[in-house]
Homo-oligomer: 402 residues x 2
């Protein structure tokens, strides 16, 4: 008998029929002799509807009260899912996060899980009950409800799997696994059978939209074996785990991330500490900077370009404007019409030819490269947003079909 943790996202439980479908899947795992713990998200558009309700009353509601409000979404899901399992005649109990012991820090709306006090869950499992836990949320030291931020239910599931020592953590979503590229616009994208944590991390943070990167970080840290599967099909899915040997496939995936904006500071004084000054201003406001390029200085001036998340752009421009006397740039220009296209693969670090092949693919497709950044297992380029899908297809074809 094993212990299986499953996670179902909002689209997987969006209506009664989908809830019944998920209940049947859970019962299947239970009837196979496993103990089953499930983390579930709010149904379909519930969270958005609740945010809308809040905005009608107060555009600037405190995060504490927003979390109090949003937490109801998952509570509805766990109760309905438990009812569907009751109908199938299996013993089941739904648990909120305070019942399930999800202890978090005090960052409302973006909390991190510190610990799970698993006693209640363990008691329920000992009675051979299926346990349904509210995803996306936790309790802090003040006994207040917090939410975990985007993709939080993935993290809930991985944290449960880690705390309970589960044999596997299955993430059910509306795609049937991790692909070499987005199958919506890359026709010959292939599903990966398995992928390493590090590769998945790069794919997750690069906009692959399958698993949230915090959940992958946690899975790596606690050696939780992940499976990404579709809740609607019976396909095998993709396993995320420690990969012992370098795989034959150099490049595991090509991704596109439209959530970026580029800022260029032109004609900044070429004195020491300039970059530090600028980026510490941003980090003080919790704004993460992604790609950075600094031009070689000439005649005592240089250009500094960087990318940020698109939503952060107004705040960035405000900060730069507030500090224009310190920064002293000739000109500040920005655009959101850019996308980041990346290739990821644990094997590429030892293969100098990988970058060349990527650039060649873009050259052949007449796509201009704005910025370049490389790490051990990824190469990212910034291209015009209008070219991004073509860039992914061109790179994917070059690597996957070769």
């Amino acid at each position: 008998m094993g212990l299986v943790v499953q996670k179902y996202g909002g689209t997987s439980v969006k209506d009664a029929q989908r809830v019944n479908n998920v209940a049947a899947r859970i019962v299947e795992a239970y009837d196979a002799g496993n103990n089953v713990v499930v983390a579930v998200s709010a149904q379909g558009d519930t969270t958005d509807d609740l945010i809308e309700k809040a905005k009608e009353i107060n555009e600037n509601a405190s995060k504490r009260e927003m979390d109090m409000l949003l937490a109801t979404g998952e509570q509805i899901s766990i109760a309905l899912l438990a009812m569907a399992i009751e109908k199938l005649g299996r013993p089941v109990v739904s648990l909120t996060v305070w019942q399930a012991g999800f202890m978090c820090d005090t960052n409302y709306s973006a909390a991190r899980i510190n610990k799970i006090n698993t006693q209640r869950i363990q008691n329920e499992l000992d009675r051979r009950r299926i346990v349904i836990v509210a995803g996306f949320q936790g309790i802090n030291k003040y006994d207040d409800i917090t939410t975990l931020g985007r993709g939080g239910s993935d993290t809930s599931a991985v944290a449960l799997a880690a705390a309970l020592g589960a044999d596997i953590c299955e993430i059910y979503t509306d795609v049937d696994g991790v692909y070499t590229a987005d199958p919506r616009f890359v026709k010959n994208a292939k599903k990966l059978d398995d992928i390493s944590y590090d590769e998945m991390l790069e794919l997750a943070s690069l906009g692959a939209n399958v698993l949230h990167n915090r959940s992958v970080e946690m899975a790596k840290k606690y050696h939780v074996k992940l499976a990404v599967k579709s809740s609607l099909t019976r396909e095998e899915g993709t396993y995320v785990k420690e990969v012992d040997q370098v795989e034959k496939m150099l490049v595991r995936g090509v991704t596109r991330d439209n959530d970026c904006a580029r800022v260029a500071l032109c004609g900044v004084e070429d004195t020491p500490g300039k970059a530090y000054t600028i980026f510490s201003l941003l980090s003080k406001k919790n704004i993460g900077v992604d790609l950075i390029i600094q031009s070689i200085g000439r005649s005592g001036k240089k250009d500094i370009s960087f990318t940020v998340a698109e939503g952060d752009l107004p705040a960035v421009l405000q900060i730069l404007d507030d500090n224009r006397d310190t920064i002293k740039a000739d000109e500040i220009v920005s655009t959101t019409e850019v996308s980041k296209v990346s290739i990821v693969g644990a094997g590429m670090v030892n293969n100098a030819g990988v970058a060349t092949t990527m650039f060649e693919a873009l050259y052949n497709a007449h796509i201009n490269i704005n910025m370049i950044a490389t790490s051990e297992i990824k190469i990212s380029v910034l291209v015009d947003r209008k070219d991004a899908e073509r860039a992914v297809v061109a790179i994917h074809d070059k690597f996957m079909l070769d």
Copy 2:
């Protein structure tokens, strides 16, 4: 500085505008220098919508999971109301029942409050925060959520007022007080300035639909002064409190209750213990019997008639049928086309003429009386349902206009 507990029902917070209106009322009490604790119900049709969602999945869901589901309704309300108060710039915190310490028994869907651990609420009040608590629910010894059943939010408010030693518990609803009769069909019904707990109890349990009787019982037990007011007007409302002297007005109210059904067992053997046998069968199934009439036996047979809540009738008929060999009635007849019309007033016990006046009013209106029951402070008659409103008007006119 006083301590005020307020309760707002579902219609009082049904949309953003109403929530803002309630927030303004609360702030008014707070700005007058009071500490304010508020119990609030789920918005408008939220509870019904959630029940509908549950039925779509499982018609026979466990009460535990139903309570888990329904509890989200009040959690949405408290968060939204807190946000509206934040917008008005006053310090506020919303609390679920596990945060507010509402300890209940283990009767899911019909729990009773055992105790409120007020420490958290007291801490928040000490910081001069307005405290918004989820009505209608509690926590049991297993750390599970329970709900208090119909009218539960009234009980939540009274329990808070009792536990905190509040100066007053204000129940805001969609009527502006307790009337001598239902103002929807008795045009000259008058609002009462005050009423005793006992009178209010009879009115509440007789279908006056203003305050739930459990809340009045609790208010009486713990000497909580209640005020019933409209959340939409500035009318003074009605105070429910210990009344020291017998009021001048003999009859305080006339009520109609359509939630009844009459069952008649005709030609039952006239032997000792017959009534006991029948009613113990019903009480074993938790079915409450209201009015009972037993005819004088003749030729060894008698008739027994009684009333039950309309919803219990199918179960009653089933029980009688299952035990027909024990009961041995010639015939069992039942109808739901009856209503109970009652007059309530602490003064009537010493006035033999009250019953006569009531019967005279019905006689003048050509309304037939089916059954009669009297207690110290009320007289009830069963009439045909089609005559019930006319009966209320006739009785009300007779007493109130005389």
